[in-house]
Symmetry: C2
Subunit: 139 residues, 2 copies
């Protein structure tokens, strides 16, 4: 039942349901898009950056030193982190005098942060215990 399929690099790979594989390959996100997706997720994949983002989610807008005080980090680290987030379009900077004020870029980001937090709050505790139905998406 196991068939063969010639990959793009010419390397033979075993497949079981070649029809479904072909169909999925056609619908799959492109490598470029997948790369961008993973880059965005990787940016969110750091405790300190996450804390900065959720601080901005709560506060709306904060300057670097207040962000540092809020999440209890060195200002240099905050600056490094914010540059990455800014470059990726996750946060936006506004200068006021010698201070820079940062905020989340848009509602999409806010939704993403919110949704993920809900996911952990609803599902993680269930997985630890009896793992029951977990359908709801309320707040």
């Amino acid at each position: 039942m196991t068939g063969k399929l010639l990959g793009l690099d010419g390397c033979a790979v075993k497949v079981v349901d070649s029809a479904r594989v072909e169909e999925t390959r056609r619908r799959l996100v492109s490598r470029d898009e997948a790369t961008k997706l993973s880059e965005l997720f990787r940016l969110l994949g750091d405790v300190n950056r996450v804390r900065l983002l959720y601080a901005l989610l709560e506060a709306g807008e904060l300057c670097v030193c207040d962000l540092a005080a809020t999440v209890d980090m060195a200002e240099t680290s905050v600056s490094h982190a914010l540059r990455l987030l800014r470059t990726a379009g996750v946060v936006r900077a506004r200068r006021d005098g010698r201070m820079m004020f940062y905020r989340l870029e848009d509602d999409h980001i806010r939704l993403l942060l919110d949704l993920t937090r809900q996911h952990l709050q609803h599902d993680a505790p269930e997985r630890k215990s009896a793992k029951k139905a977990k359908r709801r998406l309320r707040r």
Copy 2:
């Protein structure tokens, strides 16, 4: 205008708006929660794992070898990746004979993948060009 605030570690940090900082600190996600959030995001922060997840999003359920064929990876790598995703509760495994079939764990994950993809499709192109209004969340 710049005040001082004694951090938890006893290190003095400069603050501008100490009231807002205090308020934000109270509302901020806990360190534990932030850690879990970042761990989840970090899992999604890899091109290959992302491609696997979006393959499952399209296909519904696939065995390891078909997943490997779909995203053009070595089966060992796929297995390693799936273990991480499984441990974190992002995917779920089902055994059928000698094969293991994987699927996304729940609708929360599907929503997360979908929302993020929408974010990149709508916002990323705009940032490259003139950066206009980007409010909509349709599909």
